[in-house]
């Protein structure tokens, strides 16, 4: 795929989590406007490899907006200028020929840089492990209609479950708060009958883990909701607040 876009990239390069990072400037030529942002990075990396230099490390996996791996802070916005898309779904037609694009990793105390643009998001995994699950007995799967769930409830739970855990909410928040993520994970289970058994301890444990990981507190600016590629709503944070306070008041 050849194109006629020529761009200047300012990319954060950092050898490892202990080293100091800095911006490197690269000129990329012949980019097609139909390429995704990650494909443009592939072109750059191919060239860096042929030149015998270290390619830029960045996270990616499915490249269709559902895995939550890609994580680039592009021109001061997580996942770039478009709303409701991940970096892999961002296309070069969103930029103009001759543009200078600055690419940084997610910045948060709880997301240390591993290398270049790749950050360690295992703090999210530990929040999930703390309570974002349901315990079920193994055996045959039960009939799908054994638990009646109203359609609006199923839809609302699904809206929360759409969170792919990419961390754009943390990256966008001025406090590097993980509340949109944690609240979506609490909500998707709190709204369904399967989530009721562990409901009271879930919010307490997940919030405690979230605080321990070093994420900030929420100041309700709404930046997370605006930047979330999956449109997770702030209503989830309010639900988490309710879940948490009713849990601490009643737990034994």
């Amino acid at each position: 795929m050849e194109g006629n876009m020529n761009l200047t990239l300012k990319v954060w390069r950092q050898k490892n989590s202990n080293s100091e990072g800095r911006f490197e400037t690269y000129d990329v030529k012949g980019i097609s406007e139909d390429m995704s942002f990650l494909e443009m990075f592939d072109v750059l990396n191919e060239r860096l490899i042929t030149e015998g230099t270290e390619p830029v490390a960045f996270d990616h996996d499915c490249r269709e907006g559902i895995c939550g791996m890609c994580s680039m802070y592009i021109n001061g916005q997580p996942h770039g200028p478009n709303r409701g898309v991940t970096t892999c779904q961002l296309h070069m037609r969103s930029f103009k020929n001759g543009d200078t694009i600055t690419v940084e990793p997610w910045r948060a105390k709880a997301f240390p840089v591993i290398k270049d643009l790749a950050v360690n998001r295992s703090s999210f995994d530990r929040i999930i492990s703390a309570g974002g699950f349901v315990s079920v007995n193994t055996g045959n799967a039960q009939d799908a209609n054994a638990l009646p769930i109203a359609k609006p409830d199923a839809d609302e739970a699904f809206m929360a479950a759409a969170c792919i855990g990419c961390g754009a909410c943390v990256a966008a928040c001025k406090n590097a708060s993980a509340m949109l993520f944690t609240s979506a994970k609490i909500s998707q289970l709190a709204l369904l009958p399967q989530g009721q058994a562990e409901r009271s301890i879930r919010a307490e444990k997940m919030v405690a883990q979230m605080d321990e990981e070093g994420f900030g507190a929420c100041t309700n600016t709404g930046a997370c909701e605006a930047e979330c590629p999956k449109g997770i709503s702030l209503e989830n944070i309010a639900r988490m607040n309710r879940e948490y306070f009713s849990a601490v008041l009643t737990s034994k």
Binding site: G21, F23, Y73, I74, N75, G76, Q77, P81, T102, E104, R107, A108, K109, A110, A172, K174, N175, A176, S177, M179, V207, A208, M210, D211, G214, F215, G216, A217, C218, T219, N220, T221, G222, A223, A226, E227, L234, E235, I237, A238, R239, M240, N241, R242, Y244, F245, V248
Partner: protein, 222 residues
């Protein structure tokens, strides 16, 4: 740590404290504004002085005043601590800040609050200290209305008070609806109502407050 301190020192608990104390301060503002608006009767401060005397001597109000100051101290201390700890959560800052994804005032509550704190010190020195810690008013030498006229003869305090009201307006514009969110009150039935009441409150109350020093300075209220 007991479960109460553990809860209140969690990130959610600290926001709850901000929300609850913020709402009590909002309730106070409404009363404060109502009492002070008595000067607009333009009766030489007669109604206002009566209302001020009631507020200063009624035991229920005086007890509530203690609660108000406790709430205010919690709001200030918790707010400053949250500001500090939230700032530390991003040790390496971004080089580029892109298109706005939130309002500037929602991101500047710490700054607006600090401006309000500075204003509050000046404001308490002007009126509260005089009425509580000197005998100027109790002895009948001076009235609170007279005190207001004296302070607002000078354009400097007038400008400071108007700037204080602007900070208050933006602080409330975010703070009012934000406190409900922190309490977990976000619902399609109520949130639009809360947001419009909050916007109205944030505009009208500071506007009435700002009108007082201006009207006194211009001699509209005699």
């Amino acid at each position: 740590m007991s479960w109460v301190t553990k809860t209140l020192s969690s990130s959610l608990g600290r926001k709850l404290l901000m929300g609850v104390t913020g709402l009590s301060l909002i309730a106070f503002l409404l009363v404060h504004c109502g009492i002070n608006a008595c000067i607009f009767f333009n009766d030489g401060g007669e109604t206002f002085n009566k209302a001020a005397e009631f507020m200063g001597t009624n035991w229920l109000i005086r007890t509530a005043e203690i609660g108000l100051f406790l709430g205010l101290i919690v709001h200030i201390v918790d707010g400053l601590l949250l500001w500090k700890s939230n700032n530390e959560k991003r040790p390496v800052k971004y080089a580029v800040n892109g298109a706005a994804n939130s309002t500037w005032y929602s991101r500047s509550m710490g700054l607006l609050g600090t401006l309000l704190l500075i204003f509050l010190v000046i404001h308490l020195r002007h009126f509260w200290v005089v009425s509580r810690f000197t005998d100027e008013i109790t002895s009948g030498k001076e009235t609170l209305f007279g005190e207001m006229k004296e302070v607002f003869e000078n354009p400097v305090p007038v400008v400071i008070y108007v700037l204080g009201c602007i900070s208050l307006a933006y602080h409330l514009l975010h703070g009012f609806q934000s406190s409900f969110q922190s309490l977990g009150w976000n619902h399609p039935k109520y949130t639009p109502f809360i947001k419009s009441v909050g916007t109205g409150f944030a505009i009208i109350i500071p506007l009435i407050f700002a009108a007082m020093p201006i009207a006194m300075y211009l001699g509209i209220i005699k």
